[in-house]
Symmetry: D2
Amino acid sequence: MTSTLLDLVSKGPKIVDLGRQLTTGMPQSPNHPQFWHTLPRRHGDEVRSDGGSAANDMITMGTHVGTHIDALAHVSQDGELFGGADAAHSCMGGKYVEHGVHTIAPMIRRGLLLDVPKYKGLNRLDGGYEITPEDLQRTARNQGISVGNGDVVLIRSGWGQKFAEGAAYVGAESGVPGVSKDGAVWLADRGIHAAGADTIAFERLAPGQGHSTLPAHRVLLVESGIYIIEAMDLEELSDLGLYEFLFVLVPLNIFGATGSPVRPLAVVEA
Amino acid sequence: MTSTLLDLVSKGPKIVDLGRQLTTGMPQSPNHPQFWHTLPRRHGDEVRSDGGSAANDMITMGTHVGTHIDALAHVSQDGELFGGADAAHSCMGGKYVEHGVHTIAPMIRRGLLLDVPKYKGLNRLDGGYEITPEDLQRTARNQGISVGNGDVVLIRSGWGQKFAEGAAYVGAESGVPGVSKDGAVWLADRGIHAAGADTIAFERLAPGQGHSTLPAHRVLLVESGIYIIEAMDLEELSDLGLYEFLFVLVPLNIFGATGSPVRPLAVVEA
Amino acid sequence: MTSTLLDLVSKGPKIVDLGRQLTTGMPQSPNHPQFWHTLPRRHGDEVRSDGGSAANDMITMGTHVGTHIDALAHVSQDGELFGGADAAHSCMGGKYVEHGVHTIAPMIRRGLLLDVPKYKGLNRLDGGYEITPEDLQRTARNQGISVGNGDVVLIRSGWGQKFAEGAAYVGAESGVPGVSKDGAVWLADRGIHAAGADTIAFERLAPGQGHSTLPAHRVLLVESGIYIIEAMDLEELSDLGLYEFLFVLVPLNIFGATGSPVRPLAVVEA
Amino acid sequence: MTSTLLDLVSKGPKIVDLGRQLTTGMPQSPNHPQFWHTLPRRHGDEVRSDGGSAANDMITMGTHVGTHIDALAHVSQDGELFGGADAAHSCMGGKYVEHGVHTIAPMIRRGLLLDVPKYKGLNRLDGGYEITPEDLQRTARNQGISVGNGDVVLIRSGWGQKFAEGAAYVGAESGVPGVSKDGAVWLADRGIHAAGADTIAFERLAPGQGHSTLPAHRVLLVESGIYIIEAMDLEELSDLGLYEFLFVLVPLNIFGATGSPVRPLAVVEA
C-alpha cells in the first residue's frame, strides 16, 4: 500500500530543485563536449493542412555537463575501475558494460547538506580552499546531524554563487574550494552512497592547476564505489536551512556511458 | 520535518522503473535526431603520470527519444500554443521561452495505471486499435480506481512488448494502439496533470498512416495544458498489478526545449 | 609559373559536380550517425544595435554520409590495416593516427568513368548485379580508354538515379549493383589511386543481405591501399559522355577519422 | 578535350594546402558549436566472423569551424541579405533557401596572395592592426600583381602563426589584425569573387572588443555578394613567395547552411 506516501504527497511536499538549468554557454569542464541545444524545426517551419505543427530539438553534449553524476566507469587508476574491474575489458563494443551509468539505480534516499561556509560564518569558501575532515565533522555536529551508511551527502562551498559568471565558476585561475583526499576518505569511511558538491569538479582545485590530479575522485569512485554529483545548486537548501531531506536523483539510463546530466531534488514534508 | 518520509524510505520502498534504456539504435520517431552515444576518450587513451585516467562521452539526440515528455511548446494549432500563446513569439532567440520543457515542474504526484489489455483479457491491443472513453472508464472501474484532478494517468496498451523489435514498435505499417481525440477529451475532462503510454506517439496511429494527424496531442497539449509521456515501459507495473503509486518524473531542465528524455518511476511502500 | 593553368581557367572550364547535396533525411548507411543540420540562430533571433545579425549552424553526422571517401583506417582484416599496420595500435588517444583521413592528399588527378550500363545498353544495372572484370574491361575498351596507374576510376551502375527515393537507394531488400572481389582485384591490378561508385557501399550487395560481408573493401582498402568513394552522382558525366577528365577531390582534413564527406569534381577544358 | 589539363597534371603540379587540420580543441569562434570528433566504433569493438571490422566516426560542429567559408546567408543588415533578400523569408523550413552555402559554386579561379607583413618587413602584424586600402594597394604593387574581377584574394597578416596557441589566435584580449570597412570597400571595388584571411574573423578586431561589430562582413557579404574565407593557413604560400596561383575551393553542399568547413588549395605548375 502506498497510502502514507500518497497522503504526504496530497499535502504538497516542499521540493527543492538542486539542478542547474541546461543552457548553451553555461560553464562546464573543457574536457567534455559542450552542451548545445537548437531547434531544427520551429512552429511555422512546416504546418500541416489541418493547422497543426510540431517543433523539435537537437542536442549535442557530453554527459558531464550541467549538474551531473559520475558513474564508476568514469575514472580508472592503474588500469582498474572500482572493485578491480579491468578498465580495458569493461568497455565492450564502445560501451562501459561494467560500471556504466546504466548501473546506477534511481536514488530515493536520506540526503544531508553539510553547509561548510555557514558553519564557518562565511558567505563562501575561497578558491583553492581545502575542506578538511575537521570541517566536515564540525559542520555536521554544529548542524545536529550525523552522516550514516547509505546517505547522500551534499557539501556546500558557496562557490555555486558564481555559476552565472561562467569562467569564474570553472575557476582555472582562482582555484575552486572542495574536499581533497582526506575529506574523501572521511566520507568513504562513513559508508555513504553518493557525495555531491556545488562545484564543477567536486574536489579542491588549486589555483592555476586545473584538473591535473583528482585524488577525491580516485578515493570515491575507484576505491570506494561512491558516486559523485557535481555542479549542484545548493544555495536554496542553505537559505532554507534544510540539512536533512529525502533525496531524489534519477540518472538517464544511458547504456555504457560514464555519467549523466541529472536534476536532483530535495523533498521535505509540507 | 521529514521524519515520515525518511521512515518510509528507511524501510526500502519498491521502485519500478518506467523508463527505457537509452541505446544507439533503439526505436524512435524518424522526425527527431537519432540518439547516438559514443566515447571520445576511453581508459587507456590518455593516462596521467599518476596512473589515473578519465573516460568521457558524447551524445547527440533529439529530445523526443527514448522515454520522454512533451512540453506544451511541442505542438501548436493554428499558430497558437496552450493558453493562446503565440507560437511564433513564444520562441525568442531560438528557445521556447514560453511553455518550454524548463517550465515543467518536477512531478511527485499520485500516479495511476489503466491496464486496458488486462481488463479486456488480452496480452496486448492490436496495431491501430483506438482506446475509447468506455475502455478507459471500464478499466478504471474494474481496477477499483478513480481518475482524479492532478493525477498522472498511464495507459497501457501492451505495445511496449515490441520495443526490442525496433521498427515493429514504431509501427509504420501495422499502426499502433492508443487513445484518439475522444479518449484524450475524457482524460482532459478529469483534470489530470499528465498522461503517459507505452507507445512511441501516445495516440492511436492507423496502419500505414504514420503521424499524419495527432488529435490527442492537440487536445492534451494545446487545448488542455496536459503533458504527454511516451515510450514508457509499463510491463512491470502490469505484472505486479500496481494501479496506484507515487509517480516521480524529473525532466531535464533544458531551457527552451520542446521535450526531454525522462526516466519516470513508480514508488510504493515496502 | 601557372600561366597555362590560368589561361585554361580564364576560358571557363566545364566543372561537373559529382557530389550529392547534404540534406537531413537523405539516404545513408544505418551504420553511421545520421546527417542532421539545424540553425541554432536565425536572423532575427538576436540583432545587434547596429542592425546586423549573424545566423549559424549545427551539424551532427558520421563521416560516411552523403558522397564520401573511405580512409584506409576504415576497414581492418584480422586485426590489420593496409600495409600490416596493427589496427589496435593505429588508434592513439581515440584517433586513427595511421591511415586516418588526414593522410589522404588532396587529389588532382586523371579521372575515368566506366559507364557499365551504357555499354550494356541499359538504363541502370539491377539490384544485386555483380559487375565483373569482363564488364570493366569491355566498358573501357568500348569507351576507348585505358585504366592506368594513379588514375581515379569511377564505376557507374546507374543506381544513383534512386538517390532521391531514399530507402530504395540503400537497397536493403533489392540489393545493389557493384563490383565484388574479382572486380576489385581487376582495379587493384591496374594500380589505380582511388575507385568510386554511385552506390552507398561501392560494392555489390546481394538482395536482403545488407552489408554482411564487404570483399571489395578488403581488397581495395586493406590489401591494396586504394581509397573508395561512395554515393557519387555520376548521371551528368554519363549524360555528357565524359569518360576522361581532371578529377578533383579534397577530403576534409579531420585528424584521425575514418572518412570524410567530399564533393568531387570532374573538370574538362571549355 | 582535357589534354592540356591532364598534361599539366601528369607533370605533378605543386599543391599548397591552405586549410587547417580539424582537431577537437582547435581554436574557433565561441559563437559556433565546437568541432568534436569521436570514434563510436573502433577496430576490435565488433569483428565479423570473417575477421573483418569497420571503424566509424561521429562529428558535431558548427560550420564556421576550422578553415571555412561564409555563405551570403551568414550575415544580414537591417533585415536583409545580399541583393535585398528578406532575411526572414530566405529561411524556409529551417534552411536558408536563398544564399545558403549550397548556392556557392565550386571555385577554380585565379587566386592572389597579398602578403602585407612581408611587404612591411614584418614577421606578422600586431593584434588590432587595421590593414588599410593603402596597405593592400602597395602590397599588390610591390608583388607585381593586380587584383582583377573574379579573383580570389587572400590577405595574409601572419596571425596564422598563432593557430597552434589556441586562445591567443582567437585574440579576445590582444585583438586581431585585418581589414576593416575601408579595406573591404577597396576589395569590393575591384569585383573580386571571394576574400580570405589567416585569422578567425577575417576582419580587424580591436583589443578586448571581440566580435561586437563586423563592418567588413557587411560590406563584403551583404553589400557586395563577396564570400569570405577564414582561418586559412597562408604561411607556406608566403614562404614560397607564391602570389598568383590556381585557387581551388569546394564547399560542402549543405542545403541551407550559412557556411562550410573547407580545405582550399593553391595549385601551381611544376
